[in-house]
Amino acid sequence: MGFFDALKFSRLKEGLQKTRESLFGKISRLVKGRTKIDDEFLEELEQILIAADVGVPTTLKIVESISARAKRERYMNEAELDAMLRDEIQKMMQDARKTLVVDFTAPLPKTPYVIMIVGVNGVGKTTSIGKMAYNYKNAGKSVLIAAADTFRAAATEQLEIWAERAGVAIVSHGQGKDPGAVVYDSVSSAVAKNTDVVLIDTAGRLHNKTHLMEELSKIKRVIQKKLPDAPHEVLLVLDGSTGQNAISQAKEFTKAVDVTGLILTKLDGTAKGGVVIAISNELNIPVKYIGVGEQIDDLQLFDREKFVEALFE
């Protein structure tokens, strides 16, 4: 049950309560008493998905696959319909476990294991790093945080507070300093001290600003100067309440730094998490973690099946 513990199943459910109630609660209600799929059903489904930020293309895909299946599998009872809906939605999402080490307790393929955190402004990068540091530390790993957001006012101070809370080391040069130098020092120090995990915070940047995206690629190259196979992961943080622009964010950040996974934040507040489905489906990038609160332990592993299961329970 190690995995289940890491998932903190009940908390996940609690955090997703809102999502479940609105999105999937509606699906359960939608399915109730139905034995066949008609236009009215599909339209209602479409509306629910759109209103959950799934986006038009992915919604249409889901709706089409469901109506196609309904034609093939003629007779259906309520339970079958429910299962089919879940199945189709689940299929739209990547499984993070296939490409990434998701468990904090699992052995790392390489040390220092370098994780770069990127994203647009205000999505929760710094907070997510604090939470990840805490989780890795608890799993018995040594952690170093690189405060490479040297742009935003008091960003380094904010990260220092999180490092202290998590009880991990931090390399910080302060505001206005060269982020490349921070990263280089951090990786060098991690190599010298045999640190297990390096978490690199970066300044928030809008993905349509080419010079800032170029700066990000440069930071990545600085890491590689010291460790050619690093960063081992590049996680893009997305605000759960973001609409379709999140897809464009994922595309651009991937272009610049090859995003390997997503962290979806603020899912405790917004009722909709549908953007995960769209991004996972359209860009083949799995969701790795979800943020469900402002406290240090409010980070959850994302698991496709458990996620949907928890939603449907």
């Binding site: 038009v56 402004n121 999505v123 507070i161 993905h207 609409g243 622009n245 603020k266 009722a271 953007v275």
Partner: protein, 449 residues
């Protein structure tokens, strides 16, 4: 930010234009595309539904069919409805109070840009000769106070903060500080909060009760999706805020939230924030924004629209004369009349992509156009057709007749001469098969002073 939205609308509208008649079927297609474009832009599902329904109803209404061409009307209706959704005219802050300090409370979700906006607003007010103080009432997020202090130092505006983690006290003492130190505006930067966080929403309510702010601003990230409506609604229910601030407009979001929020809470959008630097703050002009929605398409689609709007026959004739370089002031006058049919001058200019570069918005003055019209009207037939004959005494007569000055007339005739020169090159272009675009119409050139 509406680029992509307007592109989509253009694509959708193209299906409508170029069809001889509007019927239930093709209006359905256009509406479906418009709906899709709006949904892709993150406009709230219900807002889209209502919008499309309104447009459909108006389009199928009687007055549509009576008018010139149905497709013209659809374009007009879509624009009108979008403009209506965006709101009326620009609204300023309610700072006309004798109270010292006037209080501005800034609230919103986590990471929406409240602190940055607070500093930007302080800088703007300071530039206007006010004496603001920034009050750090986000006592929860790590280093939030330091962030505000750093920004305050950048813009040289004092920041008030307390050691205790008590937002109410921080705000109260901050206002007191402002009063004692002759600071006439206190900007209260509050913590980010989720609308479902009952304790935090109660705190916000309490702050409002305590401070009785002249202005409560709701700050929202322009990239927000369908939830924009619920969030804005919840904050509005609790705080009855006065205005909305849309942030991160420097991104490429289609910004449908701007449309939805305005529709649902009926509160004006007062500012847009478009950058991380403290001076990246702009006033929100709903009408401009609505114009932008329809106006940023490619030139081709504009020409389609323009040609729909203009009397096609007359345009063709003018075009022919233009090509033959026989274009005279009479033709020019007619052209102005045709363009006028399309709406206000600013409106027209903003609709033509190339034109807005040619003629900056703030340089456009309806009065200039009226002058030109008046001058041409005061000319004789012969003068209009052969502007070369307009000598000194004729100029004086025209100026008197049109209530303008000789300089104005000189300017017009000079520019018209330049226009004709320019037309020679357009002529070449047109002969090479390039369409006569709005950009090439002499009108834009004339307005460029």
């Amino acid at each position: 930010m509406f680029e992509s939205l307007s592109d989509k609308l253009d694509a959708a509208l193209k299906k409508v234009t170029g069809q001889a008649r509007i019927n239930e079927v093709n209006i359905g297609n256009a509406m479906r595309d418009i709906k899709r474009a709006l949904l892709d832009a993150d406009v709230n599902y219900n807002v889209v539904k209502n919008f499309v329904e309104q447009v459909r109803k108006k389009s199928l209404g009687e007055e549509v069919i009576k008018s010139v061409s149905p497709s013209q009307m659809i374009v007009k209706i879509v624009y009108d409805e979008l403009a209506a959704l965006m709101g009326g005219t620009q609204q300023d802050l309610n700072l006309k109070t004798s109270r010292v300090p006037a209080v501005i409370m800034v609230a919103g979700l986590q990471g929406s840009g409240k602190t940055t906006f607070s500093a930007k607003l302080a800088l703007q007010l300071k530039k206007k000769g006010r004496n603001p103080v920034l009050v750090a009432a986000d006592v929860y997020r790590p280093a939030a106070v330091e962030q505000l202090k750093t920004l305050g130092a950048q813009i040289d505006v004092p920041v008030f903060s307390i050691e205790e983690k008590d937002a109410i006290k921080a705000a109260k003492d901050g206002v007191e500080y402002a009063r004692k130190n002759a600071r006439d505006i206190a900007i209260i930067d509050t913590a980010g909060r989720l609308q479902i966080d009952e304790d935090m929403m109660a705190e916000a309510e309490q702050l409002k009760k305590l401070l009785a702010p002249e202005e409560i601003l709701f700050v929202v990230d322009s990239m927000i999706g369908q939830e924009a409506v619920n969030t804005a609604k919840a904050f509005n229910d609790r705080l009855d805020f006065d205005g909305v601030v849309l942030t991160k407009m420097d991104g490429d979001t289609r910004g449908g939230a701007a449309l939805s929020i305005k529709t649902v809470v009926q509160k004006p959008i007062k500012f847009i924030s478009q950058g991380e630097k403290v001076d990246d703050l702009d006033i929100f002009y709903p009408d401009r924004m609505a114009q932008r929605i329809l106006g940023m398409g490619d030139i081709v689609s504009f020409v389609e629209k323009a040609q729909e709007k203009l009397d096609l026959k007359k345009t063709e004739e003018l075009q022919k004369r233009l090509l033959e370089n026989e274009f005279n002031l009479d033709d020019f006058y007619q052209q102005i009349q045709e363009i006028r049919k399309m709406g206000s001058l600013q409106n027209v200019v903003s609709m033509i992509p190339g034109m807005s570069k040619l003629v900056p918005q703030d340089k456009i003055d309806e009065r200039d156009l009226k002058k030109v019209e008046a001058m041409i009207c005061s000319m004789t037939r012969e003068e209009k057709q052969k502007p070369d004959i307009i000598n000194g005494s004729r100029r004086l007569r025209i100026a008197k007749g049109s209530g303008t000055t000789v300089q104005d007339v000189n300017g017009l005739i000079k520019q018209f001469g330049e226009m004709k020169k320019m037309m020679k090159s357009i002529n070449k272009m047109a002969k090479s098969g390039r369409p006569l675009t709005a950009e090439n119409l002499p009108f834009g050139r004339l307005m460029q002073r």
